[in-house]
């Protein structure tokens, strides 16, 4: 607190008081309203608190997730917290569930059929699982004749991934396979008989597994 300019201290402390009783991330807008200050000031104050906690090496930290500020335990003390909170740890998602979640996250709003088209298999079961976990929810209906339900990710999804908004997802472009990989795939798909699979090609690309 002492690092803050004197006139900011009371406001910063008021923020701390509200955040300590909050059960969900609190939006900067609501905080601004409560303290009767601007949203920019809220962001500035929270930034100052955050770096203060960091410098003082506190056991908690202030983060912005799912569009709001919240206090949480510092990852460095995970072992103690885990010992303290026995259950609650949500089960990790399987590879298939994560892949479907990634598709919904990047392509939302998206229908079951569109997810299935990308994954190449029926996605109903996985989407039901993700919905029951609260990561994904129906956000609307398609205009088309079938009026398919469209799905999007939830605030819980952002919270669980520690993201402020879906705009903070790493750009999809960086995951597109590089040219060499695409060319290798294309070679395999080539049907011409006079282009047998060359053994000398094998070193060009290593399997990732």
């Amino acid at each position: 607190m002492s690092a803050l300019p004197f006139e900011w201290r009371a406001e910063a402390a008021a923020l701390e008081a509200v955040l300590i009783v909050a059960t969900e991330p609190v939006s900067p807008g609501l905080l601004a309203e409560l303290l009767e200050i601007s949203v920019e000031r809220v962001d500035e104050l929270c930034g100052a608190l955050r770096s203060g906690y960091e410098e003082e090496e506190r056991g908690f930290e202030l983060v912005k997730v799912a569009g709001g500020y919240r206090l949480q335990s510092h990852p460095a003390y995970r072992a103690y917290v885990e010992r303290f909170v026995l259950d609650d740890a949500p089960a990790r998602l399987s590879a298939a569930a994560l892949e479907t979640l990634a598709i919904v996250a990047y392509k939302q709003p998206i229908s079951r059929a569109q997810v299935a088209a990308i994954r190449g298999v029926n996605a109903d079961g996985v989407i039901r699982l993700l919905t029951s976990r609260g990561y994904v929810e129906p956000v609307g209906r398609d205009d088309g004749p079938g009026q398919a339900i469209l799905f999007g990710t939830t605030a819980l999804f952002l919270e669980r991934l520690g993201l402020d908004s879906t705009a903070d997802l790493p750009p999809l472009g960086q995951f597109v396979p590089d040219t060499a990989t695409v060319e290798a795939l294309e070679r395999v798909l080539r049907t011409s008989e006079d282009a047998p699979v060359g053994r000398d090609d094998t070193d060009r690309m290593r399997a990732e597994g």
Binding site: R78, T181, A184
Partner: protein
């Protein structure tokens, strides 16, 4: 958990095989799909229950392998006319685009998994206001009576339709009436009398139940069983009436109803009668 294949040319997780083929380290030509499918079925039998996610993953990769293999087996471009050429290119581009898209999202999924893992190291404060603020919060149960609570409980406990596991598309074309018939002619003489419910209690899919039902009709047509049902939707009792036990394969089915084509869409499965009610 990933399903692993054990075949002559390869030993390891299935998706790795796909990647190796992509990297041209294993020739798709040398991969016998039947061997892989048999291995998978054996594994499924060993586990005892069908892991839907595993099976789905298996199908996705198997389908891609089949497509890859088809490309390799197709005749060279010299034999095809222009139109077929174009169709081939189109199909190839489509497949390539799909593979690239799949890879893109599996890369994104890896990163999401890492984000999730990192975020799980912190736990949010969720204590809420302490008792000093209790009286400030409005009473959420104002006007709610015990009758409202029991009504809500009934709604919650009874209103949800039973979960229908869409296994139908996983067994498409693999469930045959003949196979069901072969099972029945072994099981029924042994038991003499059975209800249809017991008969199909261990069916893995709706399609298998349907196959059993069709097989029963076949046996009924041949006067080998007697069927008895007390009223609509009542229990269906099956009595073996044929003189001597018959071995598998000895009662052939007409080719027409050989295969039970399960509905392609999972939602369709809900409308397939479970047989016990007709």
């Amino acid at each position: 958990m990933a399903y692993e294949v054990h075949i002559d040319v390869f030993d390891g997780p299935f998706d790795l095989l796909l990647r190796l083929i992509g990297a041209q380290q294993v020739d798709v030509y040398e991969v016998r799909l039947a061997e892989i499918v048999d291995g998978f079925l054996a594994e499924t039998r060993r586990i005892g229950e069908l892991d839907l996610e595993l099976a789905t993953e298996f199908l996705l990769i198997a389908a891609t392998l089949v497509e890859l293999k088809c490309r390799r087996l197709l005749p060279g471009q010299h034999d095809a006319d222009l139109e077929e050429d174009l169709a081939l290119f189109e199909a190839r581009d489509y497949l390539l685009a799909r593979l690239v898209e799949c890879r893109t999202f599996s890369g994104a999924a890896d990163v999401l998994g890492k984000l999730e893992l990192a975020a799980s190291r912190s736990l949010a404060r969720r204590a809420g206001p302490d008792e000093r603020f209790e009286r400030r919060a409005p009473d959420l149960l104002a006007g709610v009576t015990a009758d409202d609570v029991v009504a809500a409980a009934r709604r919650a406990l009874a209103a949800r339709p039973p979960e229908v596991v869409p296994t139908a598309q996983l067994v498409r074309d693999e469930v045959s009436v003949q196979a069901a018939l072969d099972e029945l002619v072994v099981t029924l003489p042994e038991k003499g009398t059975m209800t249809f419910r017991d008969l199909t209690a261990r069916s893995a899919s709706t399609a298998h139940v349907v196959a059993c039902f069709l097989a029963l009709l076949e046996l009924y047509k041949r006067a080998m069983v007697d069927l008895d049902q007390v009223g609509t939707f009542g229990e269906l009792t099956v009595v073996w009436t044929a003189a001597s036990p018959t071995g598998p394969g000895e009662v052939p089915v007409d080719d027409d109803d050989q295969l039970v084509a399960a509905p392609a869409r999972a939602s369709g499965a809900r409308h397939v009668p479970d047989g016990s009610g007709s």
